[in-house]
C-alpha cells in the first residue's frame, strides 16, 4: 500500500494532467452522452430536462430517415473501406517495386490528397461534379470521352450523389494506406524475397504467399482505422450533398449533427450517437484486445 502511494507520488507530475483532461473531455462525455440520450434535453437550461426513458431510442428506430442514414453509413463503409485499402495496397506495391524510379515523387504525389483539407477537397469535388455542362466531370464523360449520352445531374439523385461522396472519400484515403504499407514493406528483409525467388516464386505468388502474410498486423491496423474513419465521415456529406436530395444521402453522423445543432434536439441526437457507438464497438470488438500490442517485427 505504501509502495503504491509512493509510486503514484512519483508518476503524478507526468500523469495527472493527461489523465484529467482525458477524463473530462473524452471519458466523461462518453457517459454523459448516454445520460443525455435518456432525456428530452434542454440545452439552455439542462436542469429542466425531462427524463423520457427509452423514448428517444424508440423514436430513432421508427424514424425512416434513420434507416436511410444507417443504410448510407453501412454502404459507405462497404464501398470506401475496401476501395481505399485495395487501391492503396496496389499503389504501395507498385511504388515499392525494385525497378520503379522516382519513388519519392510518386509517394509525395499520391499522398497529396491526404494532407489536403477536407473542406477544400469537398467543395472541389462538388464543383467538379457540378450539374451543368460546364461541370468538369460531365465535360470529360460526355464531350471528351463520350461514355455518357448526356450530362448527369450528379448531386440531384440519391445514388449518383452517393457515388460522388464515395469517390472523394476513396480518392482522399488511398495515399494514407499507401504510406502505411510502404513503411511496413521497407522493413521486410530482402533475404526473404531472395529465398522466395530461389524457390521459384514470382510476382503475384510472392505477393500472395510472402508479402501479404507478413503485412498482417499492418493490415489489421489499417482496416480498423479505415472502419472507424468511415463511421467518422461527416464533412464530405455535410458540404457536398448536405444530406440531399430530400435527406436521402445523410450519414448517421450528419443526421445526428443536424438534430443536435440545427434542431437542438440533443436527446434524440445522442440516442443516435449511442447506437452508432454500439455498432462500432461490436464491429471492432475482436480487435480491441490485441490492438496496439502486436508491432510488426521480422
Amino acid at each position: 500500500m505504501r509502495r503504491a502511494i509512493r509510486q503514484y507520488v512519483q508518476v503524478a507530475p507526468y500523469l495527472t494532467l493527461g489523465v484529467l483532461l482525458t477524463a473530462v473531455f473524452v471519458l466523461y462525455p462518453l457517459v454523459k452522452g448516454i445520460y443525455i440520450s435518456f432525456y428530452e434535453y434542454k440545452v439552455l437550461a439542462p436542469e429542466l430536462s425531462l427524463f423520457v426513458g427509452f423514448d428517444n431510442y424508440v423514436r430513432a428506430i421508427q424514424d425512416p430517415k434513420v434507416l436511410i442514414a444507417l443504410r448510407n453509413t453501412v454502404l459507405f463503409a462497404l464501398v470506401t473501406v475496401p476501395g481505399q485499402w485495395l487501391l492503396g495496397v496496389i499503389v504501395a506495391m507498385m511504388v515499392n517495386m525494385r525497378t520503379i524510379r522516382f519513388k519519392l515523387f510518386f509517394r509525395f504525389v499520391y499522398y497529396l490528397p491526404v494532407i489536403s483539407s477536407w473542406i477544400v477537397v469537398s467543395y472541389l469535388f462538388k464543383f467538379l461534379f457540378s450539374d451543368s455542362a460546364s461541370g468538369m466531370v460531365n465535360y470529360l464523360l460526355v464531350d471528351l470521352i463520350p461514355v455518357l449520352p448526356a450530362p448527369v445531374n450528379w448531386l440531384q439523385n440519391t445514388w449518383t450523389a452517393n457515388i460522388v461522396v464515395w469517390l472523394v472519400s476513396i480518392w482522399k484515403g488511398i495515399g494514407w494506406v499507401m504510406i502505411m504499407y510502404l513503411a511496413a514493406l521497407q522493413s521486410v528483409p530482402k533475404s526473404l524475397y531472395e529465398a522466395a525467388s530461389i524457390d521459384g516464386a514470382k510476382g503475384v505468388r510472392t505477393f500472395l504467399h510472402i508479402t501479404l502474410p507478413l503485412m498482417k498486423p499492418m493490415t489489421t491496423y489499417v482496416l480498423i482505422n479505415l472502419i472507424i474513419g468511415s463511421f467518422q465521415a461527416f464533412i464530405q456529406v455535410f458540404l457536398i450533398t448536405e444530406g440531399g436530395p430530400m435527406d436521402s444521402t445523410h450519414l448517421l453522423s450528419t443526421y445526428m449533427f443536424r438534430h443536435a445543432f440545427q434542431f437542438f434536439d440533443f436527446g434524440y441526437a445522442s440516442a443516435i450517437s449511442v447506437m452508432m457507438g454500439l455498432m462500432i464497438f461490436v464491429l471492432t470488438y475482436s480487435q480491441q484486445r490485441t490492438f496496439g500490442k502486436d508491432r510488426i517485427e521480422y
Binding site: 462518453l30 497529396l112 467518422q232
Partner: protein, 275 residues
C-alpha cells in the same frame, strides 16, 4: 519480361497521377481566371488570361487574413501544448510502475475506438458548463483533451524502445526522473515528436466540426469555417473561392514537403518511413 512489366507499372502510376492531381490542376487553373460567374468551361480554363488578382482579393476580403492568423494561433498553441502533454503522459506510461497502469492504458485505448464525432454533443455541454463556449481557451482545451490519448499511444512506443541502460549515467550523477526525461527521452525521440507535432498542427488547421460548434463570434472563426462562409457569400466567384482555398492549403503543403523525409511510423519497428 521484367522490362515490360516495369513499363506497365510506370504507365499505371503516371495514369494514377492524373486522377490524383487532376482536381488540383482544375482548382489552380480556376483560381487564375476571373469573371467566373458560372463554373468556367474547360475551353475557358485553357485559353483565358491568367492572373493572380484573385489571390490578393481573397486575402484582403471579408477578414480572410484575420481568419488565417486565427488558425495560425490556435494551431500553434494546440500543437505546443499537445506535444508537452503527450510527451509527459507517454513517459509516465513507458517508464513508471504504478498500480492499475495497464488498466488505465486499456481504458485510454478503448476511447480510440469511439469516433470523435459521437462525443461532440456532450463535449459541447462540458465546455458550456465551464462557460468557455465561443472562446479560444475552450476550443484549444477541447482539441488538446481529445487528442491526448492518440498521441500518448504514439509516443509511448518510441519511449519504450529507448534502452533503459541509458538512464544509468543519469542515476550515477544523481539526476532525477525529470533529468532523464529531458536529457534522454526527449532528444532521442525528436523525429517521433516532430512527426506528431506536424500531425497535431495540420489536424487542428483543418478541423471543422468542433470549431463550428464552439466558436460563434465571426471575427474569431478559424480558416475552415471562414472558407465555408466565403463560399456562402461569394457563391459564384469560383476563382476567388479557389484562390482562398489554395491559400488555406499552402501552409500544410509546405510543412509536409519540407519534412516528408523525416516522418516516422509508429507501427513499424525498424526505422519507419525512410526517405
Amino acid at each position: 519480361m521484367a522490362k515490360w512489366s516495369t513499363w506497365v507499372v510506370h504507365t499505371l502510376l503516371v495514369l494514377g497521377i492524373f486522377v490524383v492531381i487532376g482536381p488540383f490542376v482544375y482548382m489552380v487553373l480556376t483560381s487564375l481566371t476571373t469573371d467566373n460567374f458560372s463554373l468556367p468551361s474547360p475551353t475557358k480554363l485553357m485559353h483565358a488570361e491568367k492572373t493572380l488578382v484573385n489571390y490578393s482579393d481573397a486575402w484582403s476580403k471579408n477578414n480572410f487574413s484575420r481568419y488565417f492568423l486565427n488558425s495560425m494561433f490556435v494551431s500553434s498553441v494546440t500543437m505546443v501544448l499537445s506535444l508537452s502533454l503527450a510527451a509527459s503522459t507517454a513517459y509516465a506510461f513507458a517508464r513508471f510502475q504504478f498500480p492499475a497502469k495497464e488498466f488505465l492504458f486499456k481504458l485510454f485505448l478503448f476511447t480510440m475506438f469511439v469516433p470523435a464525432i459521437l462525443n461532440i454533443i456532450p463535449q459541447f455541454t462540458v465546455i458550456q458548463a465551464v462557460n468557455l463556449v465561443d472562446t479560444y481557451p475552450g476550443l484549444i482545451l477541447l482539441y488538446i483533451g481529445s487528442g491526448v490519448v492518440g498521441s500518448t499511444f504514439f509516443l509511448r512506443g518510441f519511449f519504450e524502445r529507448i534502452p533503459v541502460e541509458l538512464e544509468e549515467s543519469i542515476v550515477m550523477d544523481g539526476g532525477s526522473r525529470w533529468t532523464m526525461f529531458y536529457t534522454i527521452y526527449i532528444p532521442l525521440s525528436l523525429p517521433a515528436i516532430g512527426t506528431l507535432g506536424i500531425f497535431a498542427f495540420s489536424g487542428t488547421w483543418d478541423e471543422f466540426i468542433v470549431a463550428l460548434t464552439i466558436i460563434k463570434t465571426e471575427v474569431n472563426r478559424t480558416l475552415p469555417i471562414a472558407l465555408q462562409l466565403f463560399r456562402g457569400q461569394y457563391a459564384t466567384y469560383y476563382g476567388l473561392f479557389f484562390a482562398a482555398s489554395i491559400i488555406a492549403l499552402l501552409p500544410i503543403l509546405i510543412i509536409f514537403t519540407v519534412f516528408q523525409k523525416h516522418f516516422v511510423n509508429p507501427n513499424v519497428t525498424e526505422g519507419g518511413v525512410k526517405g
